[in-house]
Amino acid sequence: MMKLLTSLLVGLTILSAPVYAQSGPLRLEIDEGIIEPMPFAVPSFVPDGPSAAQYAQDISRVIVSDLTGTGLFREISSDAFISRVSSFDAPVQFADWKAINAQALVTGAVNVSGKRLTVRFRVWDVFSGQELGNGLQFAGTTDGWRRMAHKVADQVYTRITGEGAYFDSRVAFVSESGPKDQRRKRLAIMDYDGANVQYLTDSAAIVLAPRFSPTGDRLLYTSYETGQPRIYLLDVGRVKRQELPTQEGTMSFSPRFSPDGRSIVYSLTQGGNTDLWKMDLASGQSVRLTNTPAIETAPSYSPDGSRIVFESDRSGTPQLYIMPATGGEATRISFGQGRYGTPVWSPRGDLIAFTKQNKGRFHIGVMRTDGSEERLLTASFLDEGPTWSPNGRVIMFTRETQGASGRSTLYSVDISGRNLRPVRTPDGGSDPSWGPLQN
């Protein structure tokens, strides 16, 4: 009976759906998976001689540190390894890596010849037994071993996630020491992971809020050198700096580069009122962008340079606004409860990170550029001053603890709100500015 019915059905269907005349595969749809750090293994890179041994070990360690630091990967300890990798060109024993659930494998070799250091590596997808991308070699000097490790880690990260790289980058920040009422502040730069800290100023004058130029060769910052906060431009490579010609007898601060690096937007205070101005760096000429009795500060360009998001209290409390880069009418984009400040446009252009103050707590959050889909990523006594990683995936910011012994520390967090962690610096740190990927 059933068969008959079915045959009838088929008889009817066959005319309207001849495409099913052949037996197709079983079709399923999966729309729910898991989110967890991917287990990976980096057997220590193979040194080609005794002089390369330490570099091989250190480079492997930095690669592991970079990858686990993203929160997207989990290192499988070498204690669990079944296979030993003793030659870079030997075939990978995938079964041994599958057995310990290493889903990605990075193999490499290090060669040192005099001051010259070369690093070769391959990335493997263990369960398919396939190589992700092709083997690659970086060459440089032994001095640059850390950067070479970051470059390898960047490749691994990009090949597995598809996200842009960011490990081979630097961060400018303010190094802080001493109690809150006598804080000593010095301008400093470091690798993104807190290594290789270099100080660019002494602590004689208060320095605030450095900002990297789009190419990472210059820094803008604010210093009290003359007694008044004024903005300075510093050539990072030559450690030369100049005061920018803003008007005399006024306070200038909060400077940011335009995406082409040719001009800056900044705050200028006259008669107690703070507005935004734009300066052409070649000519030193400034033009006014806002003209209200309210405070306008903390500007940030969109990556295409066409718009500026900034903070203004023209509504009574600090909120976020967007205006054309040439000035003109501004549109408010923040409408949640509380006060909003320090907006920073993401390098991808899709999000704006900000500081939010609500009910006695501070948050770092992100929203779309029209103010929608606000998400708060952190909460503490005092979080402020977000800066984006070059790939727009990670945010670094300042966290200050409360009380007389309060201390400033740099923190980073993934834009999913996961993987919140401190960035280790020798002293306290504040006002980070993440520079571009180095080349």
Partner: protein, 367 residues
């Protein structure tokens, strides 16, 4: 593989790279007066500008050739040992940049510049300990793993694994020749991403920030009687097609083997859940999370993926690059969770011999 050619290629690219980028010295033609910063002396400045030419930034990457085939591996001969150079103790910075030694000017008493870069071994993730959940509808708490269903913290001795394995001790398992196994348990997981901002100190009920639809659970028991009847569940057109296909194949007498009855929705769900447990989108870029991929593959009778059968059938919503990453991730899921063979009804092999799975990450996006 001609080693000579390889070396030559590397050397050439390196040399050209150095010539192009190694010696450039960027100067800013800004018209304003420039003065030295007080923190460095003139000698230091002269020293570091001179040094600028020397250190080499990593040159252009050189692609490596595929590794040699297993049979023709040559073990590289041990290089004649070079005169051991004194290893640099302090790590100089990689960039050709001036070292600004703060000690030269700053008289602050505390130690300033670290000789060794800070170690980064243990940046403890700041995921807070789980506040004890007040009940089954507990507040999701931060966990390293996000899974459709909340999983309680594992027993302390268990290693995380996707498959729960009971602990087996040597003496007990001696007769069955079972290998000693570590006890495993599913890793602790939260049903959604919980940020610090969403954590609450008190377990008082509040509105959930992001309610999620629960995945379809596998039906508790597959109903055998459905076998005869082609399923006509209105919400499952694919199943309908499948049923029709089967019926069609049967009616036309096509196929030498008698086609088994179609999979029940329970059996399909079980397969779907089996793969989704390994579909880890946590390491996907935000772009790849916008990309839907369809992956086709074949299974052998023991439920294992046939070598080389995996392929991307199609993709939508992203670039080629993001489709590649999305495919890699989907492939990993299918292979990893199927490494011991998928548990599918053997009598319906024809129904699941070829499978196409659409991986849609829409609900897993960062929101």
């Amino acid at each position: 593989m001609e080693t000579g050619t390889k070396i030559s290629a590397i050397a050439h690219v390196g040399l050209i790279g150095w010539a192009l980028f190694g010696g450039t010295f960027r100067s800013e033609p800004l018209p304003m007066a420039v003065q030295d910063v007080t923190v460095i002396s003139a000698e230091q400045f002269a020293a570091m500008t001179a040094q600028r030419e020397a250190p080499e930034v990593p040159t252009d990457p050189v692609e490596l050739q595929q590794p040699a085939q297993p049979d023709e591996i040559e073990t590289p001969e041990p290089m004649p040992e070079e005169p051991p150079e004194p290893e640099p103790v302090a790590q100089p910075e990689p960039e050709p940049e001036p070292e600004v030694e703060p000690e030269t000017v700053d008289i602050s008493p505390e130690p300033e510049l670290i000789e060794q870069p800070p170690t980064l071994e243990e940046p403890e993730p700041e995921m807070a300990a789980l506040p004890s959940p007040p009940g089954p509808e507990a507040e999701p708490s931060p966990a390293d793993k996000i899974a459709p269903e909340q999983i309680a913290p594992p027993p302390p001795e268990a290693k995380p694994d996707d498959v729960e394995t009971p602990p087996v001790s040597l003496d007990e398992g001696a007769e069955t020749q079972q290998e000693q196994q570590d006890q495993t348990a599913p890793e602790e997981a939260a049903p959604e991403i919980v940020t610090e901002a969403e954590e609450v100190d008190d377990p008082a009920p509040r509105t959930s920030p992001r309610p999620r639809v629960r995945p379809n659970r596998p039906a508790p028991t597959p109903e055998p009687e459905v076998a005869e009847t082609p399923e006509t569940a209105p919400t499952e057109p694919a199943q309908n097609e499948q049923a029709i296909n089967d019926a069609l194949a049967e009616a036309l007498g096509g196929g030498t083997e008698p086609s088994g009855p179609p999979l029940t929705s329970g059996e399909k769900d079980a397969m779907r859940v089996a793969v989704s447990r390994c579909w880890n989108v946590g390491s996907l870029s935000t772009d790849a999370l916008e990309t839907v991929v369809v992956v086709g593959f074949s299974l052998s009778r023991d439920g294992k993926v046939v070598d080389g059968s995996l392929r991307m059938v199609g993709s939508s919503g992203g670039s080629d690059a993001s489709a590649k990453q999305a495919y890699d991730t989907a492939r990993r899921a299918i292979l990893r969770c199927g490494s011991k063979g998928y548990d599918l009804p053997a009598d319906k092999y024809d129904q699941w011999q070829d499978i196409e799975i659409t991986f849609n990450p829409e609900r897993m996006r960062i929101k």
